[in-house]
């Protein structure tokens, strides 16, 4: 099993976890974006419309574009999703600062909806952690 397999399995839960969080969907109601999220070993093309994940397929899809990408190492996601993450592994931007994640592309949608993405990608933490 690749290191990324449990991480990918957790990412696959994101749309369902988001559907259970009406408040987070409401906060993202003005957000429409195609982005690349996932681990450095396995990314996902994620389509978000009005705050909902309307499509999510494993990358790469040939010639599919994305606006911004946020990818972290499998070890970083595993640490990030712990119920009580250790210091330095607890926030998306702490991961980029320490070099365990990359943020690239046109990051304006990410910054405009920064708390949305922080909360979206932390949903597995409150759902029992990594699969």
């Amino acid at each position: 099993m690749k290191k990324s397999d449990p991480v990918s399995a957790t990412f696959e839960q994101l749309p369902a976890l988001l559907e259970r969080d009406a408040a987070l969907i409401q906060r993202g109601r003005f957000l429409d974006v195609d982005c690349l999220l996932g681990s450095t070993e396995q990314g996902w093309h994620v389509a978000i419309r009005a705050g909902r994940i309307t499509g999510m397929v494993p990358a790469p899809v040939l010639m599919r574009s994305w606006t911004f990408g946020y990818r972290a190492t499998p070890e970083a996601w595993t640490a990030f999703w712990q119920p009580m993450p250790k210091a330095g592994w607890h926030d998306l931007l702490s991961l980029t600062k320490r070099g365990a994640a990359t943020l690239e592309g046109d990051i304006k949608p990410f910054m405009t909806h920064l708390q949305y993405f922080k909360d979206l990608l932390a949903l597995p933490r409150n759902a029992g952690g990594i699969a």
Partner: protein, 285 residues
């Protein structure tokens, strides 16, 4: 039912800072050793409300927390023409000294957090004899940037939302949800460009590397306390800074982040109480 009324009172002081009168809002409680508290960048003195309401501390300390100009209830000065707000090391130092002088404080203790922690180091370098003790929370001579401050003030991104979202990760995950939200609320309320203007001091003008070795802690004791979850001013940044200052006392605070006094007041109390007790004992001996 009679309302519970908190002990602190709020007033305005007209303070001359470098030839311009500023109407400074401050809250205070208690009596004894003056303890002036400095809020973080982009926030205001509400961060200190738990300290101001602490009966044990206010028995021995006159705790005073003021809003920097442009922050909280301290408006910009009357002659402000709308130009971009920008805090410099010189202006920040002038403001603190002018406020302390205006209130006729006798050798106050100054405790600052984040930019307040950084400026405390500058007070220790240049004005140590004016203070009884200095306490830097989340303080370092320098720390590596982790985002572009241009995001904090642009017309196509909501300033309050992005300011709060950026710093939200600096709150430790153990902090009570209500204290976390209250801490972030102040960031959502800051004036446009004020957080960014404060960070001019933090990122550009206030690099104290190479200067802190001049601090004489026998003239004025220096205490540095940093939360383990602060990845902006990390514990390593503080420890590195303190390693070049003879006599500086360092504490890494568990289960706390960048806003210890407001994000988790009970946990912060465990760390600040011994410091305030030590200062009090030195004062009485």
């Amino acid at each position: 039912m009679t309302a519970y009324i908190e002990p602190m009172i709020g007033r305005y002081a007209h303070v001359d800072i470098d030839g311009t009168t500023h109407r400074i809002y401050f809250e205070e409680a208690g009596q004894g050793i003056p303890l002036v508290c400095l809020h973080t960048a982009g926030s205001d003195n509400r961060q200190w409300r738990y300290l101001l309401a602490d009966e044990e501390f206010t028995r021995h300390y006159r705790i005073i927390a003021f809003d920097l100009p442009w922050h909280g209830k301290s408006n910009p000065p009357a002659n402000w023409d709308g130009s971009e707000y920008q805090l410099t090391t010189k202006r920040y130092t002038q403001t603190i000294r002018a406020f302390c002088a205006a209130l006729d404080l006798d050798k106050p203790v100054v405790m600052g957090c984040s930019i307040g922690g950084r400026i405390v180091l500058n007070l220790a370098i240049d004005h140590a004899s004016e203070f009884r003790a200095l306490i830097g929370l989340e303080a370092a001579d320098f720390q590596a940037p982790w985002y572009d401050t241009a995001w904090l003030n642009r017309p196509d991104v909501h300033g309050g939302e992005v300011c709060a979202a950026l710093v939200s990760g600096l709150v430790a995950p153990q902090s009570p949800p209500e204290a976390r939200m209250e801490t972030l609320w102040a960031y959502k309320q800051g004036g446009p460009g004020v957080f960014k203007g404060d960070l001019y001091f933090y990122r550009v003008d206030g690099d104290l590397r190479g200067r802190t070795a001049a601090i004489d802690t026998t003239t004025c004791p220096l205490y540095l306390l940093t939360g383990e979850y602060d990845f902006s001013c990390s514990p390593e940044d503080t420890v590195r800074t303190a390693s070049g200052i003879t006599g500086a006392e360092v504490t890494v605070m568990e289960a706390l982040g960048h806003f210890p006094m407001s994000e988790n007041p009970a946990q912060f109390r465990r760390y600040i109480a011994p410091v305030l007790e030590t200062i009090k004992q030195k004062h009485s001996s």
